[in-house]
C-alpha cells in the first residue's frame, strides 16, 4: 500500500483526446484499480488546462490532502508549467506533479479506440509509479549581473546595444573588424525604400560610439566565456591597433602617407584597395585607424614608419610597441549578432566568377554603386571605364540548390530588384533578371517589384545553365552569353550581356561552429545558430542567458535584423529587471564515489556545464549551466550521473507502471533500484 495520496486527472482536450480514448473509462479504472498504489481520487474533465480544471486539482489537494498529482493530457512541452503552478498555488511542491501525454503519444497517433484506451491506462499507470518516487525540488536562484555582452557590431548588434544602453544598463559591444557597421556599411541604397544606407546607419553608429553606457571594443574577439546565466565571465582579446586611442585624433594623415596599397577583401569586397594603416571607411566608428601587421612595411621589413613620422599629435599616436590586451569582465547576459558571409561564387565555376572579368558578385556590385566605392558610384565593367549596355542578374546563386545550400537566402530577390533599379537609373542599360521564383513577401516589397517591372527590367524565369564567353551566334562576340531555359517560353535562350551580377547566397560565418562552441549554443546542420523555438522563442537559445539576433540565426534583411536586435534586447532587459532568475531544478549531478574520472561525458555537454577537477580526478557539473538534457546521464559508463526528475529509479518505475497492465496476469517483479549498467 502506497503511503502517498495521489490524484489522477484525465483531460478530454475537447475531442482531441476524447474522440479516440474513452477518458471516463480511464478515470474510472484509475480510481478503482490503482487504489492500492496510492490513487485516492481520479477525475476526467473537458479541459483540464482551463481555470476550472486547475481549480478542480487545487481543491482536491486542499480537501483530500493529495501528496502527488498525475495529469494525463497533452505533451509536457505545452502545459507542464500550468499544472505545476496550479499545484504550487495549492501548497504542493510543483515537482510532485507529473504530466503524462495521452494526446501526442496516444489519441493523435492511434485510431483503434479500445487499444488506445488501454494504452492511455498504461501511460497513467506509468505516471503513478513514477510520481511516487518524485522528490520535492526547489528552483535555483541566481542573481543577474546588469551588464550585457553583444558580439558583432552589424545593424542587429548595434540596435540591441542601443536599446539596452538607452535603458540605462551597461553594454560591452565586441566587434572583430576595426569598425562597427557590418554589411550594411558596404551598401549604397537599401530596399525597398532606397534610403541611402550610410545615412540611416551612421547616426546609429555614432550613438553607439559615444554612448556613456557602451564600452565599444573593436578589433577585438571573445576568447572565452565562463560561468553561467546571470554571471558570465568573458575574456576578450583586444588586438593591438598600433594606434594609441587616447591620443589619435583620427585625422587620417597616417593613411595618406602610408606607401602600401592592399587589396581590401573585406569592406571593398575585393574590388578596391586600402592602405596598410587604415580605417575601413570614412564614417568608421571608432575613428581610429589600425595597422595591418601582415602588410605593413615596418613590421615586415623593419623600415618605413612613415605613418609615425607624419603623425601630427604629441606624443605620436602611432605606437609600434603596442601589444594585444586581454580584458576580462562580468556580464549577466550575452547577445550574439555575428551576421553572415557571402557564398563563394567560385564554387559554381560555370558562372565564370574569377575567370570572366565582367562577372561580379552582389557585394562587389554594391561597392560599384556606392558613391564612396572604388568607382565613385559609377556602374562600369572591370576595366573601370566602360558602361555596360546590358546587365544580367542571376538569382539564387548558391541558394535553393542541393549542390550548395538548400535554403532560400531570403534577401536576394529584393537585392536583385534593387540592382535592376539602380542600373536603370544610372546607366539606362537593359537589365535581365534570371529567377526561379520572385519572393517579395514583406511590407512594401511587392510594390517595389511592380516599380522595377515598370522601370522596364526584363525577367526570365529559369535557372541559368552557364555564363560563357564562347560566342556561337552573330552578336555574341565579345559578350558574356547567358544560357538559360526560359521555363515560361519553354525554350532555350542565349542572352548576350556585358555584365553579369551573381546574387550570391548568404551563408553562416565560416567560423560559426567555433563561435557557437565558445558560447555553448547549437548550430543547425547548415551552420546557422539555432533559436530556442522557431516560432515562439526566436531570439533565445537553449542555453540560458545567451540570445541571438540578426542574420547569424538565418538569412534576413535589415528590418528583420533590427527587429531581432530589439527583441533580444527586450528579453535581456526583462531579465535584468528581475534581478534574479529562478532556474529549473531539473539537472544532472555526479555521484562522486562512482565517478572513475574517465571523462567520457566531458565533451558531450552541449552547454559546457561539465568540467574536470584534476585535483580530485573526477568530473563536476555546474548546476547553473546544466539544462537537464540528460546526455551525460546516458553516456556515463559507471552510472555515476543522475538526473533529478530523471533518475534511473524514476524511469524504471515508470516503465514498470507502463508494463503492469500487460503482465498483470503473471507475477510481477518490482524493479531493482540498482539496475544500472555495470
Amino acid at each position: 500500500m502506497s503511503p502517498e495520496r495521489i490524484g489522477v486527472y484525465v483531460c478530454h482536450c475537447g475531442s482531441n483526446i476524447a474522440a479516440t480514448v474513452d477518458v471516463e473509462e480511464v478515470a474510472l479504472w484509475a480510481s478503482e484499480e490503482l487504489g492500492d498504489r496510492g490513487v485516492v481520487v481520479a477525475r476526467d474533465y473537458q479541459f483540464m488546462c482551463s481555470s476550472l480544471g486547475q481549480e478542480l486539482i487545487e481543491a482536491d489537494i486542499k480537501e483530500q490532502g493529495l501528496t502527488r498529482v498525475v495529469v494525463a493530457a497533452c505533451s509536457p512541452h505545452l502545459h507542464e508549467r500550468t499544472f505545476r503552478t496550479a499545484c504550487k498555488r495549492a501548497g504542493l511542491n510543483p515537482f510532485l506533479c507529473e504530466l503524462v501525454s495521452i494526446r501526442e503519444q496516444v489519441s493523435w497517433v492511434h485510431t483503434d479506440r479500445a487499444a488506445a484506451t488501454e494504452k492511455a491506462m498504461a501511460v497513467v499507470s506509468g505516471g503513478v509509479e513514477r510520481v511516487t518516487l518524485h522528490q520535492p525540488l526547489e528552483p535555483l536562484h541566481v542573481p543577474i549581473h546588469p551588464a550585457t555582452l553583444i558580439v558583432g557590431g552589424g545593424i542587429a548588434g548595434i540596435q540591441a546595444a542601443l536599446e539596452i544602453a538607452d535603458s540605462g544598463y551597461p553594454v560591452y559591444l565586441v566587434e572583430r573588424e576595426p569598425s562597427i557597421g557590418g554589411h550594411m556599411a558596404q551598401f549604397d541604397k537599401t530596399f525597398p525604400t532606397l534610403d541611402c544606407s550610410a545615412c540611416i546607419l551612421t547616426p546609429k553608429m555614432v550613438d553607439v560610439g559615444g554612448h556613456p553606457n557602451v564600452t565599444l571594443l573593436t578589433w577585438s574577439e571573445v576568447e572565452r566565456v565562463d560561468g553561467y546565466v546571470g554571471s558570465f565571465t568573458v575574456t576578450v582579446r583586444k588586438k593591438a591597433r598600433y594606434v594609441d586611442e587616447s591620443v589619435c585624433t583620427g585625422c587620417g594623415i597616417c593613411t595618406e602617407k602610408c606607401p602600401v596599397r592592399v587589396l581590401d577583401n573585406t569592406y571593398e569586397a575585393g574590388l578596391g584597395y586600402r592602405k596598410a594603416v587604415y580605417r575601413p571607411f570614412a564614417q568608421a566608428v571608432p575613428k581610429y585607424p589600425v595597422i595591418d601587421r601582415e602588410n605593413c612595411t615596418y613590421f615586415q621589413r623593419g623600415k618605413c614608419k612613415a605613418c609615425q613620422l607624419f603623425c601630427p599629435t604629441h606624443p605620436k599616436a602611432i605606437d609600434f610597441e603596442q601589444k594585444d590586451e586581454i580584458l576580462q569582465f562580468q556580464v549577466g547576459n550575452i547577445i550574439l549578432a555575428t551576421g553572415y558571409d557571402l557564398f563563394d561564387c567560385r564554387r559554381i565555376p560555370q558562372y565564370g566568377y574569377a575567370r570572366l572579368a565582367n562577372v561580379f558578385t552582389s557585394l562587389e556590385f554594391e561597392r560599384l554603386c556606392n558613391a564612396a566605392g572604388p568607382t565613385g558610384g559609377k556602374i562600369v565593367l572591370r576595366d573601370g571605364v566602360t558602361e555596360p549596355a546590358t546587365v544580367g542578374i542571376i538569382h539564387c546563386v548558391g541558394s535553393r540548390d542541393h549542390n550548395y545550400n538548400p535554403y532560400c537566402s531570403n534577401i536576394c530577390c529584393m537585392q536583385s530588384l534593387k540592382f535592376g533599379h539602380l542600373v536603370k537609373e544610372r546607366t539606362g542599360a537593359e537589365v535581365f533578371n534570371f529567377y526561379i521564383d520572385i519572393r517579395t513577401a514583406f511590407k512594401d516589397y511587392d510594390e517595389f517589384y511592380q516599380r522595377v517591372l515598370e522601370d522596364g527590367v526584363h525577367f526570365v524565369r529559369g535557372r541559368v545553365a552557364e555564363v560563357t564567353d564562347a560566342a556561337r551566334l552573330p552578336g555574341e562576340e565579345g559578350k558574356l552569353i547567358i544560357q538559360v531555359e526560359d521555363t515560361l517560353l519553354g525554350k532555350q535562350r542565349r542572352i548576350p550581356v556585358d555584365m553579369v551580377v551573381l546574387s550570391a547566397a548568404l551563408q553562416p560565418r565560416q567560423d560559426s561552429t567555433e563561435v557557437a562552441y565558445t558560447f555553448g549554443i547549437a548550430c543547425s546542420a547548415n551552420g546557422w545558430f539555432i533559436e530556442k523555438h522557431p516560432k515562439l522563442d526566436p531570439v533565445a537559445t537553449m542555453t540560458e542567458g545567451i540570445f541571438i539576433a540578426g542574420a547569424c540565426q538565418g538569412p534576413k534583411d535589415i528590418p528583420a535584423s533590427v527587429a531581432q536586435g530589439a527583441a533580444a534586447a527586450a528579453r535581456v532587459l526583462g531579465r535584468i529587471h528581475q534581478k534574479e532568475l529562478a532556474l529549473e531544478p531539473v539537472r544532472a549531478s555526479i555521484i562522486a564515489e562512482r565517478c572513475s574520472g574517465c571523462r567520457i561525458c566531458n565533451n558531450l555537454c552541449p552547454f559546457n556545464a561539465i568540467s574536470y577537477d584534476t585535483a580530485r580526478m573526477i568530473t563536476e557539473i555546474n548546476p547553473a549551466l546544466c539544462q537537464g538534457c540528460g546526455t551525460c546521464v546516458a553516456a556515463c559508463p559507471s552510472g555515476a550521473i543522475t538526473g533529478t526528475q530523471f533518475s534511473n529509479e524514476q524511469v524504471l518505475a515508470q516503465l514498470y507502471g507502463l508494463l503492469l497492465l500487460n503482465v498483470s496476469s503473471g507475477p510481477v517483479q518490482q524493479p531493482q533500484p540498482a539496475l544500472v549498467p555495470a
Partner: protein, 330 residues
Amino acid sequence: MSAKYGYYPGCSLERNAIAYHQSAVAVAPVLDIEFVELDDWNCCGATEYIAIDVLPAYALVARNLAIASRQKLSGGNQNQVVAPCSACFLNLSKVDKYMSDAPRLAANVNTALAAGGLSYKPGSVRVRHLLDIVVNDVGYDAIAAKVQKPLYGLRIAPYYGCLIVRPGFQGAFDDPEYPMSLDRLMGTLGTTVVDFPVKAHCCGGHMTQISEQVALELIRQLLQNAAEYEADAIVTLCPMCQLNLDGYQEAVNRHYGTKYHIPILYFTQLMGLAFGLPAATLGFGKEFVDAAAALNKIGVQPPPKPKKERAGKEALPMPEMAAGGLSHES
C-alpha cells in the same frame, strides 16, 4: 609494388581509338600501375543497345562486371576496373548502380548471367575512368616527377565531353559543370592550357549517324572555340569525342567553309611524350588531322609568360581563383 587495376578497353580501343590503347599501355608502367585486361570481355552495348531491349543490355554489361569481380587485383575487397572510354565507363557504372538500387533488376540480370555460369553482386566492382586514376591515385606530384620533356609552348584545349563527370553514379571525381582535372594534368606536363569554356559540352555523339546537321554544328562550336583560343590541339579522353572532332573536322570545314586544322589527341599520348617515351609507341599518326605540325611547336624552353594586358589606370582588381584552381595561361 605497382597498383593493379582491371582493364576494360572496350571495342573502340581495339580499332579507331587504338592510339588511346597504345599510349595508355605505354604510360602505365611509368606511373607504376598495372593493367590486367579482363578475360574474354565483351561490348558494353554503347548507347544503342539499351534503347532496344533493357534486360539483355544490362546483362551484357553486367557480364563484364561479373568477370571483373572474379579477378585478383589490388584494392582490397572491392575490385577496381579502369575504363578509358567514357561510354564504357558510363555503362559499367550505370549498370552497377541500377543493380544496387533495383534488386529485381539485379535478380533478373543474375538469372541471365547464370546461363553462362556467372553472377554479379552489385557494388563489388568499382568502375573508374582512366583520367580519375591518373590524377587521383597517381596524382599530379608523382606525374610531375616523371616528366622528362615538358611540352613547352604547346597550347592545349582540354576537352572532357559530357559523360565522365555526369551523372557521377559512383561519385563524380570532378566538378560536373566545369571540370579542372585534365586542365591541371596538362599544366603538369608543361603545356599552356587555354580556358576552354565548352569543355564539358556534347561532341554530337552518335548524332553523326542520325542527324548529321546537328552533329556538325555541335562539332563546329567546339572547334571554333578552340580556334579562338589559338589552341594547337584539343586533348580528349573519350574515343567518341576524338572520332567526331577528328573524323568530321573535314566535313565541318566543307559544310561551313571554315579552315580548321586542330589535331585531336588523347591525354595519354601527351603524357607519353612528356615522359620521354618514343612517339612511335604512342599511336601518333593515326589521326585524320595530322598532329605533326602542332607537335613541332614543342620547345625546350618554357614560353615567356604572356604579357598581362596592361590594365588601365582605372581598372578594377580581378578576383583571384580559389586555391588549387588553375588560372589559365599564367
